[in-house]
Amino acid sequence: MKWLELLGVRTTKFIEEVGQVFLLFLQTIKWSLRPPLGFRNILKQMEEVGVRSIPVVLITAVSTGMVLALQSHTGFKRFNAESLVGTVVALSMTRELGPVLTALIVAGRAGAAMAAELGTMRVTEQIDALSTMAANPIKYLIVPRLLAGMLMLPILTIFSDAIGIAGGYFVAVQVLNVNPVVYLRRTTDFLEYDDIYGGLLKAFVFGIIIATVSCYKGFNTEGGAEGVGKATTGAVVLSSMLILISDYFLTAILF
Protein backbone atom coordinates (compact mmCIF):
# COMPACT_ATOMS: atom_id res chain seq x y z
CA MET A 1 0.00 0.00 0.00
CA LYS A 2 3.08 2.21 -0.13
CA TRP A 3 2.16 3.58 -3.54
CA LEU A 4 -1.35 4.47 -2.42
CA GLU A 5 0.10 6.43 0.45
CA LEU A 6 2.49 8.16 -1.93
CA LEU A 7 -0.38 8.99 -4.25
CA GLY A 8 -2.30 10.49 -1.34
CA VAL A 9 0.65 12.58 -0.22
CA ARG A 10 1.29 13.83 -3.75
CA THR A 11 -2.35 14.72 -4.27
CA THR A 12 -2.56 16.59 -0.97
CA LYS A 13 0.60 18.47 -1.81
CA PHE A 14 -0.73 19.39 -5.24
CA ILE A 15 -4.03 20.69 -3.86
CA GLU A 16 -2.23 22.61 -1.13
CA GLU A 17 0.04 24.22 -3.68
CA VAL A 18 -2.87 25.20 -5.93
CA GLY A 19 -4.49 26.77 -2.86
CA GLN A 20 -1.32 28.76 -2.14
CA VAL A 21 -1.17 29.92 -5.74
CA PHE A 22 -4.78 31.06 -5.52
CA LEU A 23 -4.09 33.00 -2.32
CA LEU A 24 -1.15 34.69 -4.01
CA PHE A 25 -3.44 35.57 -6.91
CA LEU A 26 -5.94 37.23 -4.56
CA GLN A 27 -3.16 39.18 -2.85
CA THR A 28 -1.80 40.30 -6.20
CA ILE A 29 -5.24 41.51 -7.26
CA LYS A 30 -5.47 43.43 -3.98
CA TRP A 31 -2.11 45.10 -4.62
CA SER A 32 -2.91 45.84 -8.25
CA LEU A 33 -5.83 47.99 -7.10
CA ARG A 34 -3.54 50.24 -5.08
CA PRO A 35 -2.08 53.09 -7.05
CA PRO A 36 0.43 53.95 -8.30
CA LEU A 37 1.00 51.21 -10.86
CA GLY A 38 4.52 51.11 -12.23
CA PHE A 39 3.81 51.50 -15.93
CA ARG A 40 7.46 51.22 -16.83
CA ASN A 41 7.54 47.75 -15.26
CA ILE A 42 4.26 46.66 -16.83
CA LEU A 43 5.45 47.65 -20.30
CA LYS A 44 8.72 45.83 -19.75
CA GLN A 45 6.87 42.65 -18.75
CA MET A 46 4.45 42.98 -21.67
CA GLU A 47 7.45 43.06 -23.96
CA GLU A 48 8.94 40.05 -22.19
CA VAL A 49 5.77 37.94 -22.13
CA GLY A 50 4.15 39.15 -25.32
CA VAL A 51 6.41 40.67 -27.92
CA ARG A 52 9.29 38.27 -27.42
CA SER A 53 6.96 35.28 -27.60
CA ILE A 54 5.54 36.25 -30.99
CA PRO A 55 8.00 34.36 -33.22
CA VAL A 56 7.70 31.01 -31.46
CA VAL A 57 3.91 31.36 -31.07
CA LEU A 58 3.54 32.12 -34.78
CA ILE A 59 5.72 29.22 -35.86
CA THR A 60 3.71 26.85 -33.69
CA ALA A 61 0.41 28.24 -34.96
CA VAL A 62 1.29 28.05 -38.62
CA SER A 63 2.56 24.50 -38.37
CA THR A 64 -0.50 23.45 -36.36
CA GLY A 65 -2.87 24.98 -38.92
CA MET A 66 -1.02 23.32 -41.77
CA VAL A 67 -0.93 19.89 -40.14
CA LEU A 68 -4.56 20.21 -39.16
CA ALA A 69 -5.52 20.86 -42.78
CA LEU A 70 -3.41 17.98 -43.99
CA GLN A 71 -4.80 15.50 -41.47
CA SER A 72 -8.45 16.46 -41.64
CA HIS A 73 -8.29 16.50 -45.42
CA THR A 74 -7.34 12.83 -45.41
CA GLY A 75 -10.41 12.01 -43.35
CA PHE A 76 -12.92 14.20 -45.14
CA LYS A 77 -11.73 13.05 -48.56
CA ARG A 78 -13.07 9.59 -47.75
CA PHE A 79 -16.62 10.92 -47.89
CA ASN A 80 -16.03 13.76 -50.33
CA ALA A 81 -16.31 16.61 -47.84
CA GLU A 82 -12.92 18.23 -48.42
CA SER A 83 -14.32 21.72 -48.11
CA LEU A 84 -15.13 21.11 -44.46
CA VAL A 85 -11.38 21.28 -43.77
CA GLY A 86 -11.81 25.04 -43.45
CA THR A 87 -14.44 24.63 -40.76
CA VAL A 88 -12.36 22.17 -38.79
CA VAL A 89 -9.25 24.30 -38.91
CA ALA A 90 -11.09 27.47 -37.91
CA LEU A 91 -13.03 25.89 -35.06
CA SER A 92 -10.06 23.92 -33.71
CA MET A 93 -7.76 26.91 -33.79
CA THR A 94 -10.07 29.46 -32.21
CA ARG A 95 -11.74 27.28 -29.61
CA GLU A 96 -8.91 25.04 -28.58
CA LEU A 97 -5.49 24.94 -30.17
CA GLY A 98 -4.87 28.66 -30.45
CA PRO A 99 -5.26 29.42 -26.73
CA VAL A 100 -3.89 26.13 -25.38
CA LEU A 101 -0.77 25.87 -27.54
CA THR A 102 -0.02 29.55 -27.06
CA ALA A 103 -0.36 29.13 -23.31
CA LEU A 104 1.85 26.04 -23.17
CA ILE A 105 4.53 27.79 -25.18
CA VAL A 106 4.40 30.97 -23.13
CA ALA A 107 4.52 28.86 -19.95
CA GLY A 108 7.70 27.22 -21.21
CA ARG A 109 9.26 30.46 -22.35
CA ALA A 110 8.11 33.43 -20.32
CA GLY A 111 6.86 31.45 -17.30
CA ALA A 112 10.18 29.68 -16.91
CA ALA A 113 12.00 32.99 -17.24
CA MET A 114 9.80 34.59 -14.56
CA ALA A 115 10.39 31.75 -12.13
CA ALA A 116 14.13 31.80 -12.77
CA GLU A 117 14.42 35.56 -12.40
CA LEU A 118 12.33 35.80 -9.24
CA GLY A 119 13.97 32.66 -7.85
CA THR A 120 17.41 34.19 -8.33
CA MET A 121 16.19 37.40 -6.71
CA ARG A 122 14.95 35.35 -3.77
CA VAL A 123 18.17 33.41 -3.17
CA THR A 124 20.35 36.51 -3.59
CA GLU A 125 18.15 38.38 -1.07
CA GLN A 126 17.00 40.95 -3.63
CA ILE A 127 13.39 40.30 -2.64
CA ASP A 128 14.27 40.89 1.02
CA ALA A 129 16.05 44.05 -0.06
CA LEU A 130 12.85 45.28 -1.70
CA SER A 131 10.95 44.73 1.54
CA THR A 132 13.54 46.54 3.60
CA MET A 133 13.19 49.52 1.27
CA ALA A 134 9.46 49.59 1.96
CA ALA A 135 8.66 48.46 -1.58
CA ASN A 136 6.18 45.59 -1.42
CA PRO A 137 7.61 42.72 -3.52
CA ILE A 138 4.16 41.58 -4.64
CA LYS A 139 3.31 45.01 -5.90
CA TYR A 140 6.67 45.66 -7.45
CA LEU A 141 7.38 42.23 -8.95
CA ILE A 142 4.19 40.19 -9.32
CA VAL A 143 1.56 42.79 -10.23
CA PRO A 144 3.29 43.82 -13.49
CA ARG A 145 3.82 40.18 -14.46
CA LEU A 146 0.21 39.25 -13.77
CA LEU A 147 -1.14 42.20 -15.74
CA ALA A 148 1.21 41.42 -18.62
CA GLY A 149 0.07 37.78 -18.63
CA MET A 150 -3.63 38.72 -18.55
CA LEU A 151 -3.25 41.17 -21.43
CA MET A 152 -0.73 39.47 -23.65
CA LEU A 153 -2.08 35.91 -23.73
CA PRO A 154 -5.34 36.91 -25.48
CA ILE A 155 -3.40 39.11 -27.91
CA LEU A 156 -0.96 36.32 -28.73
CA THR A 157 -3.94 34.00 -29.17
CA ILE A 158 -5.50 36.35 -31.74
CA PHE A 159 -2.24 36.17 -33.72
CA SER A 160 -2.12 32.44 -33.28
CA ASP A 161 -5.73 31.97 -34.48
CA ALA A 162 -5.17 34.12 -37.55
CA ILE A 163 -1.88 32.53 -38.55
CA GLY A 164 -3.19 29.01 -37.91
CA ILE A 165 -6.20 29.60 -40.13
CA ALA A 166 -3.96 31.13 -42.78
CA GLY A 167 -1.66 28.11 -42.62
CA GLY A 168 -4.61 25.77 -43.05
CA TYR A 169 -5.87 27.78 -46.00
CA PHE A 170 -2.47 27.69 -47.65
CA VAL A 171 -2.17 23.91 -47.40
CA ALA A 172 -5.78 23.23 -48.41
CA VAL A 173 -5.78 25.55 -51.39
CA GLN A 174 -2.19 25.42 -52.62
CA VAL A 175 -1.24 21.86 -51.81
CA LEU A 176 -4.49 19.92 -51.68
CA ASN A 177 -6.29 21.91 -54.36
CA VAL A 178 -9.47 22.61 -52.41
CA ASN A 179 -11.53 25.34 -54.08
CA PRO A 180 -10.52 28.61 -52.30
CA VAL A 181 -13.97 30.20 -52.48
CA VAL A 182 -15.71 27.18 -51.00
CA TYR A 183 -12.99 26.84 -48.38
CA LEU A 184 -13.37 30.42 -47.21
CA ARG A 185 -17.15 30.19 -47.20
CA ARG A 186 -16.99 27.03 -45.11
CA THR A 187 -14.62 28.85 -42.74
CA THR A 188 -16.76 31.95 -42.27
CA ASP A 189 -20.18 30.28 -42.38
CA PHE A 190 -19.62 28.03 -39.41
CA LEU A 191 -17.29 30.18 -37.33
CA GLU A 192 -19.14 32.30 -34.79
CA TYR A 193 -17.92 35.19 -32.71
CA ASP A 194 -18.54 33.16 -29.59
CA ASP A 195 -15.95 30.61 -30.73
CA ILE A 196 -13.35 33.36 -30.86
CA TYR A 197 -14.40 35.09 -27.65
CA GLY A 198 -14.52 31.79 -25.78
CA GLY A 199 -10.98 31.03 -26.91
CA LEU A 200 -9.78 34.47 -25.85
CA LEU A 201 -11.39 34.09 -22.45
CA LYS A 202 -9.51 30.83 -22.06
CA ALA A 203 -6.29 32.61 -23.00
CA PHE A 204 -7.01 35.25 -20.37
CA VAL A 205 -7.37 32.59 -17.67
CA PHE A 206 -4.22 30.81 -18.90
CA GLY A 207 -2.34 34.12 -18.69
CA ILE A 208 -3.36 34.41 -15.04
CA ILE A 209 -2.28 30.83 -14.38
CA ILE A 210 1.14 31.21 -16.01
CA ALA A 211 2.01 34.48 -14.27
CA THR A 212 0.73 33.50 -10.83
CA VAL A 213 2.22 30.00 -10.80
CA SER A 214 5.60 31.17 -12.11
CA CYS A 215 5.78 34.03 -9.62
CA TYR A 216 4.70 31.72 -6.81
CA LYS A 217 7.43 29.24 -7.68
CA GLY A 218 10.01 31.98 -7.98
CA PHE A 219 9.04 33.61 -4.69
CA ASN A 220 9.23 30.32 -2.82
CA THR A 221 12.62 29.30 -4.13
CA GLU A 222 15.12 28.07 -1.58
CA GLY A 223 18.57 26.59 -1.77
CA GLY A 224 20.75 28.44 -4.26
CA ALA A 225 21.26 27.59 -7.91
CA GLU A 226 19.75 24.13 -7.55
CA GLY A 227 16.63 25.66 -6.04
CA VAL A 228 16.30 28.08 -8.93
CA GLY A 229 16.45 25.16 -11.35
CA LYS A 230 13.77 23.31 -9.42
CA ALA A 231 11.56 26.38 -9.24
CA THR A 232 11.84 26.87 -13.00
CA THR A 233 10.97 23.28 -13.84
CA GLY A 234 8.21 23.30 -11.23
CA ALA A 235 6.71 26.46 -12.68
CA VAL A 236 6.49 25.00 -16.18
CA VAL A 237 5.10 21.68 -14.98
CA LEU A 238 2.50 23.15 -12.63
CA SER A 239 1.31 25.83 -15.02
CA SER A 240 1.07 23.31 -17.89
CA MET A 241 -0.97 20.96 -15.72
CA LEU A 242 -3.29 23.70 -14.54
CA ILE A 243 -3.70 24.95 -18.11
CA LEU A 244 -4.74 21.50 -19.31
CA ILE A 245 -7.03 20.83 -16.35
CA SER A 246 -8.72 24.22 -16.46
CA ASP A 247 -9.02 23.90 -20.26
CA TYR A 248 -11.40 20.98 -19.87
CA PHE A 249 -13.61 22.78 -17.38
CA LEU A 250 -13.54 26.06 -19.29
CA THR A 251 -14.57 24.21 -22.44
CA ALA A 252 -17.39 22.49 -20.60
CA ILE A 253 -18.65 25.77 -19.11
CA LEU A 254 -18.06 28.16 -21.99
CA PHE A 255 -19.31 26.30 -25.03
Binding site: T124, Q126, D128, S131, T132, M133, A134
Partner: protein, 252 residues
Protein backbone atom coordinates in the same frame (compact mmCIF):
# COMPACT_ATOMS: atom_id res chain seq x y z
CA UNK B 1 20.21 58.12 26.86
CA UNK B 2 16.40 58.02 26.55
CA UNK B 3 14.48 55.06 25.23
CA UNK B 4 16.48 52.33 23.51
CA UNK B 5 16.39 52.23 19.71
CA UNK B 6 15.88 48.49 19.41
CA UNK B 7 14.76 45.98 22.01
CA UNK B 8 14.58 42.24 21.51
CA UNK B 9 12.57 40.62 24.27
CA UNK B 10 12.59 36.88 24.82
CA UNK B 11 12.70 36.03 21.14
CA UNK B 12 11.99 32.47 19.99
CA UNK B 13 12.17 31.21 16.43
CA UNK B 14 12.25 27.69 15.01
CA UNK B 15 12.45 26.35 11.48
CA UNK B 16 10.90 22.91 11.65
CA UNK B 17 12.85 21.04 14.31
CA UNK B 18 15.69 23.51 14.20
CA UNK B 19 15.29 25.80 17.21
CA UNK B 20 17.39 28.75 16.16
CA UNK B 21 16.50 31.45 18.68
CA UNK B 22 15.67 30.32 22.19
CA UNK B 23 15.00 33.41 24.24
CA UNK B 24 17.12 36.21 22.84
CA UNK B 25 17.20 39.41 24.90
CA UNK B 26 19.15 42.39 23.59
CA UNK B 27 18.89 46.15 23.81
CA UNK B 28 20.52 48.50 21.34
CA UNK B 29 20.79 52.10 22.49
CA UNK B 30 20.35 55.12 20.28
CA UNK B 31 23.56 56.02 18.49
CA UNK B 32 25.59 52.95 19.35
CA UNK B 33 26.83 50.24 17.04
CA UNK B 34 26.03 46.78 18.34
CA UNK B 35 27.88 43.88 16.79
CA UNK B 36 26.42 40.44 17.20
CA UNK B 37 28.99 37.69 16.87
CA UNK B 38 28.46 33.98 16.63
CA UNK B 39 29.32 30.96 14.54
CA UNK B 40 27.95 30.16 11.12
CA UNK B 41 24.37 28.99 11.36
CA UNK B 42 23.99 30.30 14.91
CA UNK B 43 21.05 32.48 13.93
CA UNK B 44 22.74 35.88 13.64
CA UNK B 45 21.05 36.62 10.32
CA UNK B 46 17.74 35.51 11.78
CA UNK B 47 18.08 38.17 14.49
CA UNK B 48 18.80 40.83 11.89
CA UNK B 49 15.77 39.76 9.85
CA UNK B 50 13.60 40.03 12.94
CA UNK B 51 14.80 43.54 13.66
CA UNK B 52 13.62 44.76 10.26
CA UNK B 53 10.44 42.68 10.25
CA UNK B 54 11.39 40.28 7.45
CA UNK B 55 10.69 37.43 9.89
CA UNK B 56 8.16 37.19 12.64
CA UNK B 57 9.10 35.62 15.98
CA UNK B 58 7.32 32.49 17.20
CA UNK B 59 7.31 34.11 20.61
CA UNK B 60 8.65 37.32 22.09
CA UNK B 61 8.76 40.91 20.93
CA UNK B 62 10.79 43.16 18.70
CA UNK B 63 10.45 46.80 19.68
CA UNK B 64 11.90 49.48 17.42
CA UNK B 65 11.70 53.12 18.57
CA UNK B 66 8.95 52.16 20.97
CA UNK B 67 6.81 50.30 18.42
CA UNK B 68 6.12 46.58 18.71
CA UNK B 69 6.67 45.19 15.20
CA UNK B 70 4.22 42.32 15.63
CA UNK B 71 1.33 44.74 16.19
CA UNK B 72 2.07 46.80 13.09
CA UNK B 73 0.05 46.42 9.93
CA UNK B 74 1.73 46.32 6.54
CA UNK B 75 1.66 50.06 5.93
CA UNK B 76 2.82 51.02 9.39
CA UNK B 77 5.63 48.49 9.06
CA UNK B 78 6.64 50.01 5.72
CA UNK B 79 6.56 53.44 7.35
CA UNK B 80 8.86 52.20 10.12
CA UNK B 81 11.17 50.54 7.61
CA UNK B 82 11.93 53.94 6.13
CA UNK B 83 14.02 54.53 9.24
CA UNK B 84 16.19 51.56 8.24
CA UNK B 85 18.95 50.96 5.78
CA UNK B 86 20.32 47.49 5.32
CA UNK B 87 23.53 46.24 3.79
CA UNK B 88 23.13 42.63 2.70
CA UNK B 89 25.84 40.01 2.83
CA UNK B 90 26.22 39.85 -0.94
CA UNK B 91 24.89 43.40 -1.36
CA UNK B 92 21.63 42.12 -2.97
CA UNK B 93 21.79 44.76 -5.68
CA UNK B 94 18.95 44.57 -8.21
CA UNK B 95 20.79 43.14 -11.17
CA UNK B 96 18.31 44.41 -13.72
CA UNK B 97 19.00 48.01 -12.71
CA UNK B 98 22.04 50.21 -13.19
CA UNK B 99 24.14 51.22 -10.20
CA UNK B 100 22.57 54.67 -9.87
CA UNK B 101 19.07 53.21 -10.19
CA UNK B 102 19.91 50.82 -7.38
CA UNK B 103 21.16 53.60 -5.14
CA UNK B 104 18.21 55.80 -6.05
CA UNK B 105 15.60 53.03 -5.81
CA UNK B 106 13.92 54.31 -2.66
CA UNK B 107 14.05 57.87 -3.95
CA UNK B 108 12.14 56.81 -7.03
CA UNK B 109 9.61 54.84 -4.99
CA UNK B 110 9.04 57.34 -2.23
CA UNK B 111 9.77 60.81 -3.53
CA UNK B 112 8.69 62.82 -6.54
CA UNK B 113 12.20 63.59 -7.72
CA UNK B 114 12.80 63.20 -11.45
CA UNK B 115 15.41 60.90 -12.97
CA UNK B 116 18.05 63.62 -13.24
CA UNK B 117 17.70 64.59 -9.58
CA UNK B 118 17.71 60.96 -8.48
CA UNK B 119 20.87 60.28 -10.44
CA UNK B 120 22.50 63.37 -8.95
CA UNK B 121 21.61 62.21 -5.45
CA UNK B 122 22.86 58.70 -6.23
CA UNK B 123 26.20 60.05 -7.46
CA UNK B 124 26.54 62.02 -4.24
CA UNK B 125 25.85 58.92 -2.09
CA UNK B 126 28.28 56.89 -4.19
CA UNK B 127 31.00 59.45 -3.58
CA UNK B 128 30.32 59.16 0.16
CA UNK B 129 31.31 55.49 -0.05
CA UNK B 130 34.32 56.34 -2.19
CA UNK B 131 32.97 55.37 -5.59
CA UNK B 132 33.19 57.59 -8.64
CA UNK B 133 32.20 57.01 -12.25
CA UNK B 134 30.43 53.71 -11.70
CA UNK B 135 26.85 55.04 -11.74
CA UNK B 136 26.11 53.84 -15.28
CA UNK B 137 27.48 50.34 -14.79
CA UNK B 138 25.45 47.22 -14.12
CA UNK B 139 25.95 45.42 -10.78
CA UNK B 140 27.30 42.34 -12.57
CA UNK B 141 30.29 44.40 -13.76
CA UNK B 142 31.42 45.28 -10.23
CA UNK B 143 33.81 43.48 -7.87
CA UNK B 144 32.59 42.13 -4.54
CA UNK B 145 33.98 45.08 -2.61
CA UNK B 146 32.46 47.60 -5.00
CA UNK B 147 29.09 45.86 -4.77
CA UNK B 148 29.18 46.22 -1.00
CA UNK B 149 29.98 49.89 -1.33
CA UNK B 150 27.08 50.35 -3.73
CA UNK B 151 24.91 48.40 -1.29
CA UNK B 152 25.99 50.77 1.46
CA UNK B 153 25.27 53.80 -0.72
CA UNK B 154 21.81 52.37 -1.35
CA UNK B 155 21.30 51.75 2.36
CA UNK B 156 22.07 55.37 3.25
CA UNK B 157 20.14 56.90 0.33
CA UNK B 158 17.12 57.80 2.43
CA UNK B 159 19.19 58.99 5.39
CA UNK B 160 18.11 56.24 7.77
CA UNK B 161 18.34 56.33 11.54
CA UNK B 162 19.29 52.68 11.81
CA UNK B 163 21.76 50.80 9.65
CA UNK B 164 21.87 47.01 9.63
CA UNK B 165 24.93 45.22 8.33
CA UNK B 166 24.78 41.53 7.43
CA UNK B 167 28.37 40.25 7.51
CA UNK B 168 29.80 43.46 6.05
CA UNK B 169 33.34 42.15 5.62
CA UNK B 170 32.76 38.50 4.76
CA UNK B 171 34.29 37.47 1.46
CA UNK B 172 36.49 40.54 1.12
CA UNK B 173 40.27 40.74 1.19
CA UNK B 174 41.67 42.21 4.45
CA UNK B 175 42.36 45.62 2.95
CA UNK B 176 38.93 45.94 1.40
CA UNK B 177 37.42 44.64 4.65
CA UNK B 178 39.18 47.39 6.56
CA UNK B 179 37.98 49.97 4.06
CA UNK B 180 34.41 48.82 4.69
CA UNK B 181 35.00 49.01 8.45
CA UNK B 182 36.22 52.58 8.04
CA UNK B 183 33.10 53.39 6.03
CA UNK B 184 30.87 51.96 8.74
CA UNK B 185 32.62 54.15 11.33
CA UNK B 186 32.33 57.14 9.06
CA UNK B 187 28.59 56.54 8.51
CA UNK B 188 28.17 56.57 12.26
CA UNK B 189 30.14 59.81 12.64
CA UNK B 190 28.55 61.65 9.75
CA UNK B 191 24.96 60.41 9.97
CA UNK B 192 24.71 59.67 13.70
CA UNK B 193 23.06 56.36 12.94
CA UNK B 194 22.39 53.48 15.26
CA UNK B 195 24.00 50.36 13.90
CA UNK B 196 23.51 46.65 14.24
CA UNK B 197 25.98 44.37 12.54
CA UNK B 198 26.43 40.65 12.54
CA UNK B 199 29.78 39.12 11.79
CA UNK B 200 32.22 36.42 12.73
CA UNK B 201 35.15 38.58 11.74
CA UNK B 202 36.58 39.62 15.11
CA UNK B 203 38.91 42.25 13.64
CA UNK B 204 35.89 43.96 12.17
CA UNK B 205 33.84 43.52 15.35
CA UNK B 206 36.52 45.13 17.57
CA UNK B 207 36.91 47.99 15.16
CA UNK B 208 33.31 49.01 14.55
CA UNK B 209 31.53 47.97 17.76
CA UNK B 210 30.56 50.09 20.73
CA UNK B 211 29.28 46.89 22.27
CA UNK B 212 29.50 43.27 21.23
CA UNK B 213 26.94 40.54 21.91
CA UNK B 214 27.78 36.88 21.56
CA UNK B 215 25.07 34.54 20.29
CA UNK B 216 25.40 30.83 20.98
CA UNK B 217 22.79 28.08 21.17
CA UNK B 218 19.94 30.48 20.55
CA UNK B 219 20.78 32.84 23.41
CA UNK B 220 22.88 35.92 23.94
CA UNK B 221 25.73 34.60 26.11
CA UNK B 222 27.43 37.87 26.89
CA UNK B 223 27.24 41.56 26.06
CA UNK B 224 30.03 44.03 26.61
CA UNK B 225 32.44 46.57 25.18
CA UNK B 226 35.10 45.21 22.82
CA UNK B 227 37.60 45.24 25.69
CA UNK B 228 35.25 43.37 28.00
CA UNK B 229 34.59 40.78 25.33
CA UNK B 230 38.25 40.46 24.48
CA UNK B 231 39.10 39.75 28.10
CA UNK B 232 35.99 37.80 28.95
CA UNK B 233 36.31 34.89 31.33
CA UNK B 234 33.17 33.27 29.86
CA UNK B 235 34.60 30.10 28.29
CA UNK B 236 32.26 30.26 25.27
CA UNK B 237 33.14 33.88 24.49
CA UNK B 238 36.81 33.26 25.14
CA UNK B 239 36.89 30.31 22.77
CA UNK B 240 35.10 32.23 20.01
CA UNK B 241 37.14 35.43 20.15
CA UNK B 242 40.41 33.58 20.31
CA UNK B 243 39.31 31.34 17.46
CA UNK B 244 40.11 28.03 19.08
CA UNK B 245 38.52 24.75 18.04
CA UNK B 246 39.01 23.40 21.56
CA UNK B 247 36.48 24.42 24.20
CA UNK B 248 32.78 24.29 25.04
CA UNK B 249 31.64 25.25 21.50
CA UNK B 250 31.23 22.06 19.50
CA UNK B 251 32.47 22.21 15.95
CA UNK B 252 30.47 19.26 14.63
Amino acid sequence: MGEPMIQLIDLYKSFGDNRVLQGVNLTIERGETMVIIGGSGSGKSVILKHIIGLMKPDRGKVIVVGQDLSTLRERALDELRKKFGMLFQYAALFDSLMVWENVGFSLRQQTHLNDREIKQAAIEKLSMVGLRGVEDRMPADLSGGMKKRVGLARAIAMEPEILLYDEPTTGLDPIMADAINELILEMKRRLQVTGAAITHDMTSAYKIADRIAMLYQGKIQAVGTPDEIKNSSNPIVHQFVTGSSIGPIKTV
